[in-house]
């Protein structure tokens, strides 16, 4: 398939549709739209026939890979299947045709569902109230860090600047804390990958603002000392933030609130089954306990008897808005649908099966790779291709690229940074045993090739529209938009 931009396919004068004459008589152009608002040159839109446009976009869609096509074990991303009923519901005209500037009286159904969603998410996480505004996990982290800041500022504790973050954390954690004005201190992990309690002890002073943790951590292991950690942080005057990226592992089994966390973000596009990645915008609600509630963003959704409304007056200490309107509502409504379809028993079963599937795969793959640990994992686990690299010159990247040729989305690679040549695998609960077995067979096949013909793997992928991308150039001098040649 040719790789052209739609702009490059454009031919002057070609049309897919001809607009009829306006049929409005009287008056010059100026009467309809003042000159200041009219363009002086026509917009540089591509000119194509309808079939060319259809072929262009159908061609693009065929290059895409998603969970609807096959297995997608992308660690830390929970690429679970998104049931189609979510789409049916959100396309109902009452939802699909909502306008963000509509009054609350005319959007009561939606407000009621969103209010109910906050309530349900609080139930799932053990928190008191929250906001659905943030557009992604990282945005949720940032929002929560702003809440921390507001909390300390209000207490005139503004010398508390230090946020502790484990060395295995996702890069968005330090970025969010830094952006909200905190100083990030990296916490080393102990040899088993847990928070190093001795190192933690050293930071428990009056400059401590708090800690950002995900539990289970990025190695897929549950921080068993979490209650102790929470007690120590609280005693030192700090707060705890829970990165909900790994929530799928403990759905219905454990709650961040009960572990002692003060704030949580959830990745709706991971745990609650809405499109993830190129497939759709994200959503990263933040839920908080009592201490942070007064600072939550406005507007809030409040219930007065049977009516729902936007409300800000009850939050004089709010950090303000974190979204222009109220977040990605169409995404949130899909999550409402998912929650209603699953029910609390269903959610708990999802958590259980996610962990079972991960352990099944781990059991079958551990002997093929270096594994940081051999114990049971939660919803994901990390393998290392270190020995493959040393003995056969085959890296985690080579294995990932070879998987592409075999019709499987690769796992996350080179994360967490604490594991060399990391492959981070998360099958999710939605995969069958047959799919998992076939993934194991595919990896075995790749590793056989690694021994016999390592060059073949260095050439991979060979069946994709492009082979190896020049990552350095893409990062250093990205071409972000098409420009007309002059």
């Amino acid at each position: 398939m040719k790789d052209t931009l739609i702009f490059e396919e454009s031919r002057e004068g070609r049309r897919g549709f001809t607009l009829p004459a306006a049929g409005i008589s009287g008056g010059a152009k100026e009467d309809f739209l003042p000159k200041a608002y009219r363009r002086s040159t026509p917009a540089a839109l591509p000119e194509l026939s309808e079939v060319e446009v259809v072929r262009h976009f159908t061609g693009l869609s065929m290059k895409n890979y998603g969970i609807d096509l096959g297995f997608y074990p992308l660690g830390s991303c929970t690429m679970k299947y998104n049931p189609k009923v979510n789409e049916d519901v959100v396309l109902l005209p009452g939802f699909a045709e909502l306008h963000p500037l509509q009054t609350a009286e005319t959007a009561q159904g939606t407000l009621e569902l969103l209010h109910g969603l906050i309530t349900d998410l609080c139930g799932i996480t053990g928190m008191r109230w929250g906001t659905l505004q943030p557009f992604a996990g990282a945005h949720g982290e940032f929002t929560a860090m702003k809440l921390f800041r507001a909390y300390f500022d209000h207490r005139k504790d503004d010398h508390r600047k230090k946020i502790l973050i484990p060395d295995s954390a996702h890069g968005t954690n330090p970025a969010s804390a830094h952006l909200a004005g905190f100083q990030v201190v990296e916490l080393p992990s102990d040899p088993e990958g847990y928070v190093d309690l001795e190192a933690l002890e050293e930071h428990l002073d009056d400059t401590l603002a708090g800690i950002m943790l995900t539990n289970p951590n990025t190695l897929g292991r549950f921080e068993k000392d979490i209650r102790l950690i929470a007690r120590k942080i609280h005693q030192a005057g700090g707060l705890l933030y829970y990165d909900g990226a790994n929530m799928n592992a403990i759905l219905g089994h454990a709650r961040p609130g009960d572990m002692g966390f003060d704030a949580v973000h959830l990745n709706i596009h991971k745990t609650f089954s809405t499109p993830h990645g190129g497939g759709g915008p994200g959503s990263g609600p933040v839920l908080v306990g009592e201490s942070l509630e007064p600072y939550l963003p406005v507007p809030d959704i409040r219930r007065d008897g049977d009516t729902f409304r936007w409300a800000s007056e009850h939050r004089p200490r709010s950090i303000g808005r974190v979204s222009g309107f109220y977040g990605n509502i169409a995404v949130l409504l899909r999550a409402v649908c998912y929650l209603r379809m699953m029910g609390s028993e269903g959610l708990k079963a999802a958590g259980t099966l996610a962990v079972l599937n991960a352990n099944y795969l781990k059991r079958h793959l551990t002997s093929l790779f270096d594994s940081p640990d051999k114990s049971l994992c939660k919803h994901e686990f990390v393998l290392s291709a270190k020995t493959w690299k040393e003995k056969h010159g085959i890296t985690a990247l080579d294995i990932a690229k070879a998987l592409l040729d075999r019709g499987i989305h690769p796992p996350t690679i080179y994360f967490p940074l604490t594991v060399p040549e990391a492959l981070m695998i998360e099958p999710t609960e939605t995969e069958s045993r047959e799919t998992l077995d076939s993934f194991v067979d595919t990896l075995k096949d790749i590793l056989t090739t690694a021994k016999k013909d390592p060059e073949a793997l260095h050439r991979a992928p060979e069946k994709m529209p492009v082979s190896r991308i020049d990552e350095v150039r893409a990062a250093k001098t990205p071409i972000l938009r098409w420009r007309k040649e002059r």
Partner: protein, 128 residues
């Protein structure tokens, strides 16, 4: 992996080359290899004062952004401007591509740096 005999090292994988009171600082071959292709170096500013262990600047690769820690206390007297346009120099010649140089204030701190042998041992232990 190359380790230069005459340099000093830190546990966070920086190297230090002393020329009188001036300490040139870069990252080790091992560090550049685990970071992967480096695409950006955020240099410190001339005159910046830093304490030993402070975050001096960051190096960004296709895999991650990593902090470079100052191995000594002192102020920045030189930065390697070449890295702005060609950060890949660190991948190509890690021990030639210094990132910045400090005028060291406290000679006593030099004792805390590792020699080549100790650094080699550290890398081997970390690989365990």
């Amino acid at each position: 992996m190359k380790i230069e005999k005459d340099l000093k090292y830190t546990v966070s994988h920086e190297w230090v080359r002393l020329e009188g009171k001036i300490a040139y600082i870069g990252i080790t071959d091992h560090a550049q290899e685990s970071l992967g292709d480096i695409v950006f170096v955020e240099l410190p500013r001339l005159g910046d004062k830093m304490n030993k262990g402070d975050e001096a600047c960051t190096v960004e690769s296709v895999k991650a952004a990593s902090a470079i820690y100052s191995p000594l206390t002192g102020s920045v007297v030189e930065v390697n401007d070449d890295l702005e346009g060609s950060p890949e120099l660190i991948n190509q010649k890690p021990y030639a591509a210094y990132i910045f140089a400090l005028e060291a204030e406290d000679q006593a701190e030099l004792k805390d740096l590792l020699d080549a042998e100790a650094y080699e041992k550290l890398v081997a232990e970390e690989a365990e």
